[in-house]
């Protein structure tokens, strides 16, 4: 609650193009937003490039925030869109593999609890580009398949199949880690 009030105050300052408010906003949210960016790219340097471009967009296009939802959520979406743009600019395309039927494997989520954040992030960053974008958008950010399809310029079916394959890929890696540790 206290941070929300502070962010609202900073929003007013950033809207007035106040450099001090902009720096304060950056200091408040940079670390969390870098964590978001790191899930969409493979290296930390790339993630920081995305973070830099994202904050510049936030400050230069702050007028486009219409107050629908939280200011932090809007900044998060700006970061995600910037990451997707970078992803497209680099010539990467989502590898679309249409699946007739999507079947999830057995639920092995409990294994995840034993993993550190950094290990889990490393696995996500190892996902193929198309899988990683869809999995991040759907599983972590909560986008719908329709939104993902529009954002990545793919069909909804492709989004669903990418998600399923991403899950299976991750579960397979988790199994391998568990098997390695149990030996």
């Amino acid at each position: 609650m206290e941070q929300t009030v502070a962010l609202d105050h900073l929003y007013e300052g950033c809207k007035a193009n106040n450099p001090r408010a902009q720096e304060m906003l950056y200091r408040t949210l940079a670390s969390g937003m870098l964590g978001v960016c790191m899930r969409y790219v493979r290296t930390t340097a790339e993630a920081e490039d995305v973070l830099q471009a994202g904050f510049i967009k936030v400050f230069t296009q702050i007028e486009s925030f219409r107050g629908e939802g939280s200011f932090e959520g809007w900044i998060r979406r700006v970061m995600i869109n910037t990451a997707i743009e970078t992803y497209r600019k680099n010539g990467r395309s989502v590898q679309v593999v249409e699946l007739v039927e999507v079947t999830d494997a057995s639920q092995e989520a409990t294994v995840i609890d034993a993993l550190a954040c950094e290990d889990l992030l490393a696995m996500i960053r190892l996902l193929p580009d198309g899988y990683r974008a869809v999995f991040n958008l759907y599983a972590i950010e909560g986008y719908s398949h329709k939104e993902i399809a529009e954002l990545l310029d793919i069909s909804e079916g492709a989004s669903k199949s990418q998600l399923s394959r991403a899950r299976n890929w991750l579960k397979e890696r988790i199994k391998q880690i568990k098997a390695y540790e149990s030996r």
Binding site: A30, E48, L120
Partner: protein, 253 residues
């Protein structure tokens, strides 16, 4: 949130929710530089934010103004003499026939580029300008001979209107013999021709901070030539006259 929230997804989301890695120290500087490139106003604001306070800037500006005005008031002014060589031997004057002053007086080339005019009032020191020398010949004692005059002229402060070589200046010098004893320490005789005397007498007592002087100073900072392209002068009625020297002494408007 998606309605079909998968437990696997939820576990990963919860795990990653509080992931806050460290950010590089110099990233904000890059963002600020990027913003400055996109918004010039911000660049100006950023510069302004890191400069000295407003009061100090006003104080510096005032000090600069005082310095410029002090320099203007006490600037070195080139002295232009009516005669080129003040130490001309008087003996020569003895042999010269008596005649008009203007014929025997060596005239200095017009420094201001204005033919027919000698820039007495403009280029002479301020003390001289404030007290114009009357256009009359100063009588000298009969004891004054040629040698002391030469000596005094060579050591004394050059007078802008000194005319030692004029026969009218020392009419008795040649006939008084060579007795140099008891010569009083007086300034050399000053004799002006009619034209110079009129100009000197009519020279306006120019205000060093007058508009024309200021304009001339501005022109002089740009045009370093001896002959300025534009020359401002003001008369006693306060009118400002502008003289153009576009063709360097050839044509004037």
């Amino acid at each position: 949130m998606n309605p079909d929230d998968n437990p696997f997804d939820r576990h990963i989301r919860d795990k990653m929710k509080n992931f806050t890695p460290d950010v590089s120290a110099g990233l904000w500087d890059k963002i600020e530089a990027g913003l400055a490139r996109q918004t010039p106003d911000r660049a100006a604001m950023s510069v302004r934010r890191r400069t000295v306070p407003v009061a100090w800037r006003w104080a510096a500006a005032a000090a600069l103004l005082v310095g410029v005005l002090s320099y203007w008031a006490s600037r070195p002014v080139p002295v232009i003499y009516l005669q080129g060589q003040a130490a001309a031997p008087v003996a020569e004057t003895d042999t010269q026939p008596a005649g008009p002053v203007s014929a025997s007086r060596p005239t200095r080339p017009a420094a201001s580029g204005m033919p027919g005019r000698t820039p007495i009032a403009r280029a002479t020191p301020r003390k001289t300008r404030s007290e114009p020398i009357p256009a009359v010949a100063v009588p000298i004692p009969e004891a004054v001979t040629s040698e002391p005059v030469v000596k005094q002229m060579s050591t004394a402060r050059p007078s802008p209107v000194a005319a030692p070589s004029s026969p009218r200046a020392t009419p008795e010098a040649g006939s008084s013999g060579s007795d140099t004893s008891g010569v009083p320490d007086v300034q050399p005789p000053v004799v002006l021709d009619d034209t110079a005397a009129e100009m000197l007498a009519s020279a306006p007592r120019s205000n060093p901070f007058g508009v024309s002087q200021l304009l001339n100073f501005v022109v002089g900072t740009v045009d370093r030539r001896e002959e300025k392209a534009v020359l401002f002068s003001s008369d006693s009625e306060g009118s400002i006259k502008i003289e153009f020297n576009l063709a360097r002494n050839r044509s004037r408007k």
